[in-house]
Symmetry: C2
Subunit: 354 residues, 2 copies
């Protein structure tokens, strides 16, 4: 972790509370899209429960990341704006920061690995950000960022370990609660993808306040199940791997200094999903909801479809957190016979402190 | 055209007016999904105009057809409900009717060609409808339907030539107008797919009343450009082909007795789209909006992307009318290098009375 510049480090380094999430929800109205909460009667029947899918893949820039980025960047004091913002990201956070900075008229530097997907580099540039490429095998992105910040100034926008980023992501849950109310649904459980944990922590804060009996679960790629282990063992754990999953967006080393305490308190457990379970979920989303979910965005849906989080007789909300997947990759990953809506395991294989 | 049973033929055979559309909008609240009006800042930049996409592919059953089907079936008098409803369709209307009938507790018989896509047959059955298959080369579906109606009774639910079906589809436009208002957009032009013309006619009625300066355009597959020719020639024309386009959902012989008079009055022109232009639009929708559009549902977006309907300096709304496409077909159709957002022709190739 690099240090944040002096402008507002004290403010952003605090663990957010429900007041921060509500303030974020107000600040983001008219800025982010109120993405739909989708439902498929046929899929419900096959699952034996009610499944509501929050389609954040339909968010502007194709993922929820705009929420936290805008909430954070809009808090930068006037006098610090001219120096711009700096972020590290290979994809969704990059586009969220680039878009938020553009909306607010602030310059953005995004430090991206030179092997990041072409479409993500191009979109980030197209949004007006300056993209600085580095070689992942030879350079640390933190070193490049720190050198840049020392020389030029600017505000670092962390992907998850920031009070206002977490609160912004939590606005997703405020919408879910309103939309479920409109649909006459009481939510028994919410499952969201977890990498650094910004989205899941923000959601957990909102539900703890507004719907405290709803169980909160994380979903992670196999081999990156640090949250599942952390919750089981009562202590923050990390992942030894740095690759080996198709879920590029959430292959993070561990949860954050700010996100983990929230998750430890409010998340019941986390589920680990195989590449096969994730691609089956991507295909089901395509067939039943007509949406594109990228691998990392599909883990929560996969947890339900694979029977790892039991949907039977319950109302479950899954967050589809992003859809930035190249059409060719999507086709390659989802090729094969559909298993749409067919839970692959019926036995309870939940992990953690249930 | 077969005759409708006596129960309500007089009512359903009239050309609808704006009052019918508004009544449909009220009746469908809480029944159909208020699908989002999506927008991509990057795509807007590339097009040089503002493009809003009404994502009816995200509608329940994967197309707008539930609107008209529910609006029509809910009007069936109590004493006629026990005999059920009958519909002909190979896909989207079938699922819309099956779902609406199920919601209203009415039996449904759907007459489908035996070579209809497996997923559409299975979904229609899964929604509780009885599917009667026939051989398109040997039998006329109208004969099967008439024989069934004579023997068993029941109410025929036409796919487009019905006052309440057209009015129901028009509820799409009421949502568009509300959503565009929320987004601060004044709509210069609306483009919607046109087969039999139920959706386009319903939309035209709503805009003629609520936003009369908005131009209304149809989009059709090449070889099925009967509306374009009809509007140019001032007389309803038909198509000589019965296949040869990937747009299975809108390969209709001509517009209807009720839809054509509405379109002749309110539609400015129609555009014909090639299979290549349609698949480019499907790919762009995947990349920029993260949604699945089936070929017939993508013609309106294709008209703008291909430059046939000029988006520059204007606010355009395109309706993505359905998303019922098998993942393997989608992958095959959209394989190849993306042309996302790149208008392929800049010259004005609009057809009809502009």
């Amino acid at each position: 972790m690099t240090s944040s510049p002096a402008t507002d480090a004290g403010e952003t380094g605090k663990i957010p509370d429900i007041g921060d999430v509500i303030a974020a929800g107000e600040r983001l109205k008219g800025v982010v899209r109120r993405t739909p909460l989708l439902e498929s009667p046929l899929l419900n029947e096959r699952l034996g429960g009610r499944l509501l899918l929050k389609a954040e893949c339909l968010q502007i820039t194709g993922s929820f990341k705009l929420r936290g980025a805008y909430n954070r960047i809009s808090r930068i004091p006037e006098q610090a704006r001219a120096a711009g913002v700096v972020a590290y990201s290979s994809g969704n956070h990059a586009q969220g920061v680039a878009m938020a900075a553009r909306m607010l008229g602030i310059g953005a530097i995004i430090i991206m690995p030179e092997d990041a997907p072409r479409i993500k580099r191009e979109n980030t540039r197209a949004l007006g950000a300056e993209v600085v490429l580095y070689d992942r095998r030879k350079q640390r992105r933190e070193d490049i960022g720190e050198a840049y910040l020392r020389e030029h100034g600017g505000t670092l926008v962390r992907p998850y370990d920031d009070r206002f980023v977490i609160a912004g992501q939590g606005s997703t849950a405020l919408e879910i609660l309103d939309q479920a109310g409109e649909a006459g649904a009481e939510i028994d459980q919410v499952i969201a993808p977890c990498g650094g944990g910004g989205l899941l922590a923000g959601i957990a804060l909102a539900f703890a306040d507004r719907s405290p009996t709803t169980r909160i679960y994380g979903a992670e790629p196999e081999g990156f199940d640090d949250l599942a282990r952390s919750l089981r063992e009562g202590k923050r754990r990390g992942n030894s791997r740095i690759d080996g999953s198709i879920c590029d967006a959430i292959m993070t080393p561990c949860t954050g200094d700010l996100t983990y305490p929230i998750l430890a308190r409010h998340a019941a457990a986390a589920f680990a999903l195989s590449d096969e379970e994730v691609t089956a979920a991507m295909r089901t989303a395509f067939e039943h909801f007509k949406i594109v979910i990228e691998p990392g965005g599909a883990v929560a849906l996969a947890a339900v479809l694979a029977g790892k989080c039991d949907p039977r007789g319950r109302t479950s909300v899954v967050v589809a957190s992003g859809g930035n997947c190249d059409p060719a990759d999507f086709a390659r990953l989802t090729a094969g016979r559909s298993q749409a809506g067919k839970p692959q395991k019926r036995e309870n294989t939940q992990k953690g402190k249930i």
